[in-house]
Amino acid sequence: MIALAGIGRVFRVGGEEVHALRDVNLQIAAGEFLSIMGPSGSGKSTLLNVIGLLDRPDAGRYLLDGRDVTALPDDELARVRREKLGFVFQFFHLVPRLSAAENIELPMVLAGIDPAERRARLDRLLGEYGLRERAHHRPSELSGGQCQRVAIARALSMGPAVLLADEPTGNLDRHTGQDVMAVLERVHAGGGTLILVTHDPEIGARAQRRLRMVDGAIAGDDKA
């Protein structure tokens, strides 16, 4: 489903070149649960951003569902993101002005989905993630765990093929982190593809496939 071949990403910082990714080759099948671990600065986030079409690689080829997305125009990338990819971030990134429900609805609004259809999906998601009582609360009135559940519901509202999570538990206490992990694992159990960046070995170990990155390259790829 995801096929990366010879992917490289170079940042230039003050005349110096930083190789965030070097010659990354990676195949991810539909329905996989993959964790990416490694020291800070090893390129985990950069890899996730490339897979998530938020960042363009400087070298290599990226096939998503058999289609070469390496050189697609920006607007087309946005459309693919909208329809196939869901993001969950360490710092939730909820819009503070909007209620939980409105935040969850946001991708559907951007996609121009019919309001009646939106309401139906929203209702299902609110129920599924235990957010019904919190639907009209602002993010500032929610706990960290609730915020991340809203973010996950939002990421799933368009029914994406792949869910990308960059340290989704990094900003949560242990107990809440377990909670969020349970939610993510449920998504995977439902047949979704889940790619998870984490620093927590315990959480990383829960994935069937564990990628280890060092210095921009894949240093290990364990499949259970």
């Binding site: 920006d74 607007d75 459309r79 909208r82 990134h93 819009v95 002005r97 121009g112 939002r154």
Partner: protein, 406 residues
Amino acid sequence: MRAADLVAFSWNVLRGYGARTLLILLAMGIGVAAVVAVSAIGEGARLYVVNQFGALGTNLVIVLPGRSETAGAMPGVLVGKTPRDITLDDALALKRSHAIRRIAPLIVGAGDVHSGTRHRETPVLGSTAEFKDIRGMELAQGRFLPEGDPRHSTPVCVIGTTVAAELFGAGAGETRALGEWLRVGDRRFRVIGVLAKQGESLGFNTDEIVIVPVAAAQALFNTSALFRILAEAKSRDQIPAAKSDIEEIMRERHEGERDVTVITQDAVLATFDRILTALTLAVGGIAAISLAVAGILVMNVMLISVTQRRAEIGLLKALGATGGMIRLAFFTEAVMLALGGAALGLAAGKLGEVLIGQVYPAIPFSAPLWALAAAPAVAIATSILFSVAPARQAARLDPVRALSKR
């Protein structure tokens, strides 16, 4: 993205940043209100002047001695030799024209007016019975100058209310002026009428004049020359015919010399109209500069907003918003602000118009239609124009960088 969602989203942003929104609405509103109020004042002044000319009498054609270089303008500077005087016979000859309903010769001078021990200096007008109708004058008491041969002098006069009050008793009400004798210079006149209060009418305050028969005025000021001839055309359409008739008759009588100026009320009016319209446009334009200033404020605030909402814009992109959608969201915001500001400004401008109308009830303040349409249009155009740069900046934001900064 659906249009309704776009509006709802922008509405949410505007509500979320209330202080910012109010600030822009205020700036926009002041700009629009300024244009509306200023153009209302200009238009009021224009209408006031036009009405004043209207009060001068309808279908009026004025003949004055001397050839003015700038035709149609005010009595110009005379060039070359002293022109031939216009006489009473010239005036009476104009009655030949079929385009003219009536004429009134006019002599103007200043006279020392006495009644018993009281006296004052007033303008003294010499004319005929028809003067009253040409100028649309009303009488408060008595009657106007008698009909009859204008070459004969009768010792009667008609006086303004102020003159009546000052010379014949206190108070503005009924005076004992009627039938009394009045001395102007070394001649005596019997008061046969008192003019109704009318006030200023371009040049003269009719409340402060004394009107005597034209022949009497000629003797009084020791001149046979007329100051002016006022002629009334039979209708508006007849004004040009009246004008050419007058020029023809006067040329005949003056041995082929074109030495009089004939001005029509229309020409004078058109000149004033043009000047005052241009003036209104100019001050309206100056006021519109404040709209441009408001536009710059919009740009500034929007640029700050792009910086403030970096993470949000990055997020929207990660969620699948295209650059175009982001741009559109910013434009929608700008247009909504401009519409709100324009509505506020129109309301404030109208209110201002009513308020100054209360202070100066004589002047018909009312913003012209073009200002009511142009002010909001300019407000919307500037705010769209000035939000182009911020919207582009937002649309170009790199989502990874935007999201990485908390």
